[in-house]
């Protein structure tokens, strides 16, 4: 039995109604709700210690700097990074992945080199590599899937070759909800001398992450998918790589010394943090890490697994439901369920669920090449978090049963 009830009171938004019905929020893959402690940390920052960090020699500015740098140390520990200066704040995972692509990729990848990604990547970990490949005359290759949605082991071995300079892979697919074998991919990538970029957007909020154990070279994620405010994200990278990379954005705060014709750049992490940073967001991220660590990922994982085990057999009973990525036998399924209702377009499904107070995502989930590969135009996606309950699942499934009726298709 899930024990999520006790957390719900911490999330003011979960008490709301949507279209007159109590809200069932099942779009956590897109963004999570925020606990009171995170909201208070933001208010506390803006109400009590707002100042531009690094710039002023006065107490408030020093306090803002402390909050910001403390967040960096908390992130370092949260993902088990070797050093805080390897943690670069960005505005989201997309910016973090662009930093890796434009600064590392554009510098280290050349004509005829190969970049390997998977067909299950979010556009944020796909389009930047496509851009690098186009600009540099490199070849972009894809690792495809087995019938159960897992990455093909054979294809991992076949596509990553001595020509490969960089491999980019998501730890968990935002559509299929499957945990990828990142460590094995890292081993293969490193064996051929390639660098591994890991998109942690769908993993950090749901499982303990250790970037050293994963043997990643870069790791990107967004705060807003892990209880934090929007507008703060992270790129972690190995110091040796980051030190050798050119800056991504230039301007204030990232310099050592500027003359008319030349600039010496600052050391890490400032080199990659041009301009005034999101200190309020960093305060929120710290509070989010506090909240998550208090619950613990064992418990978070257990709640999500309970919801999954409760929902899947019921969905399989419904003859008009098609499931994607739900047949894995590798015990690597997270709380993301992608589905379609027979003869009804996903937008129409989402609208009908919306009327019942149930929030799910419909569309291509920023993974159009995956949709093309699966041969679907769009899908619906329900994604759980630890504050969801079995009652939420019941309400979702009851609403699904209504969909075909509203569309005059019979039961």
């Amino acid at each position: 039995m899930s024990d999520s009830q006790e957390f719900r009171k911490d999330f003011p938004l979960l008490g709301q109604k949507m279209n007159g019905k109590p809200l069932v929020y099942l779009d956590n893959g897109a963004t999570t709700q925020k606990p009171e402690s995170v909201i208070q940390s933001m208010c506390g920052y803006y109400g009590g210690c707002n100042a531009n960090p690094h710039r002023g020699a006065y107490a408030l500015s020093v306090e803002a700097t402390d909050i910001y740098e403390n967040a960096r140390v908390r992130v370092q520990r949260f993902i088990h990074a070797p050093a805080a200066r390897e943690v670069i704040f960005t505005k989201n995972a997309t910016e973090a992945l662009n930093l890796a692509a434009y600064s590392y990729g554009m510098t280290n990848i050349g004509s005829g080199d190969e970049i390997v990604i998977t067909i299950a990547e979010h556009h944020s970990n796909l389009v930047p590599w496509q851009q690098v490949a186009k600009a540099k005359g490199a070849v972009l290759k894809y690792i495809y899937l087995e019938a159960d949605g897992n990455l093909s082991t054979d294809d991992i071995a076949a596509k990553i070759t001595p020509k490969t300079k960089l491999v980019a892979v998501t730890q968990v697919s935002n559509v299929l909800g499957l945990v990828n074998p990142v460590r094995e991919i890292a081993a293969r990538a490193h064996a051929v001398g390639a660098v591994l970029v890991v998109d942690g957007s769908q993993s950090v909020a749901h499982m303990a992450v250790d970037v050293q154990e994963l043997d990643a070279d870069f790791f990107a994620f967004s705060g807003h998918k892990m209880l934090s405010p929007m507008g703060i994200g992270v790129l972690w990278g190995r110091a040796a790589l980051l030190d050798a990379m050119p800056p991504f954005l230039t301007g204030g705060d990232m310099i050592e010394y500027v003359t008319e014709q030349h600039t010496d750049f600052a050391e890490l992490p400032a080199k990659f943090e041009a301009g005034t940073q999101n200190v309020g967001g960093a305060a929120g991220l710290t509070a989010a890490i506090d909240y998550l660590e208090k619950i613990g990922f064992d418990r978070i994982g257990a709640i999500e697994k309970d919801l999954l085990d409760y929902a899947l057999p019921q969905l399989r009973q419904l003859p008009f439901i098609t499931l994607y990525g739900c047949d894995t036998t590798q015990n690597n399924k997270t709380g993301i369920i992608t589905f379609n209702v027979k003869d009804v377009h996903p937008h129409d499904v989402a609208t009908i669920l919306d009327a019942e107070g149930v929030a799910v995502r419909a569309g291509h989930h920023c993974a159009q090449p995956l949709m093309q590969y699966l041969g679907v135009n769009a899908t619906c996606r329900a994604s759980f978090y630890f504050y969801n309950t079995r009652e939420d699942v019941d309400r979702w499934i009851a609403a699904l049963k209504k969909v075909r009726e509203v569309m005059h298709l019979g039961a």
Partner: protein
């Protein structure tokens, strides 16, 4: 919220079996319309002769609202002059934005007036207007030829 009103049998029917969903033999303009956020896709084909839309059809995939709206639009504009089509377009946009609410005025939109309640579903407005925006662009393309 008028959900039942929107998903009337008519819309479900239109989207399952739209009589306007096919290719034209000699289109003068073919234009694709897409909702990038959600994946609705249509390809609108027009045969414009002497400033009149002599024939129109479409192909595509998408939600019931986008597909039905396209089919209803084609019913409306077929045989009309370009100027008349543009007037109907303004009427449709006015209806969806709730700037025009008078049913007597909207009667001209015929079946397409059934989409009036989509204005209550802000997330779906783009589905209803996709075909009309595509028409707007197609007529522009035609004009610039």
């Amino acid at each position: 919220m008028g959900l039942e009103a929107i998903y009337t049998e008519l819309i479900a029917e239109q989207s399952r079996n739209p009589e306007n969903k096919h290719h034209l033999t000699a289109p003068t303009v073919v234009l694709k319309g897409r909702n990038p956020s959600c994946g609705d896709e249509i390809s609108l084909e027009l045969r414009v002769e002497n400033d009149r839309i002599a024939d129109a059809a479409f192909t595509g995939v998408g939600c019931a609202i986008s597909q039905a709206s396209t089919s209803m639009m084609i019913d409306l504009i077929k045989g009309k002059t370009v100027a008349e089509a543009k007037r109907l377009m303004a009427l449709f946009f006015g209806m969806i934005k709730r700037e025009i609410t008078d049913d007597a005025v909207l009667e001209e939109l015929d079946e397409a007036a059934a989409l009036k309640n989509v204005a209550n579903l802000p997330a779906r407005v783009k589905c209803a207007v996709l075909s009309w925006h595509t028409l707007e662009d197609a007529l522009q393309t035609e004009k610039e030829k």
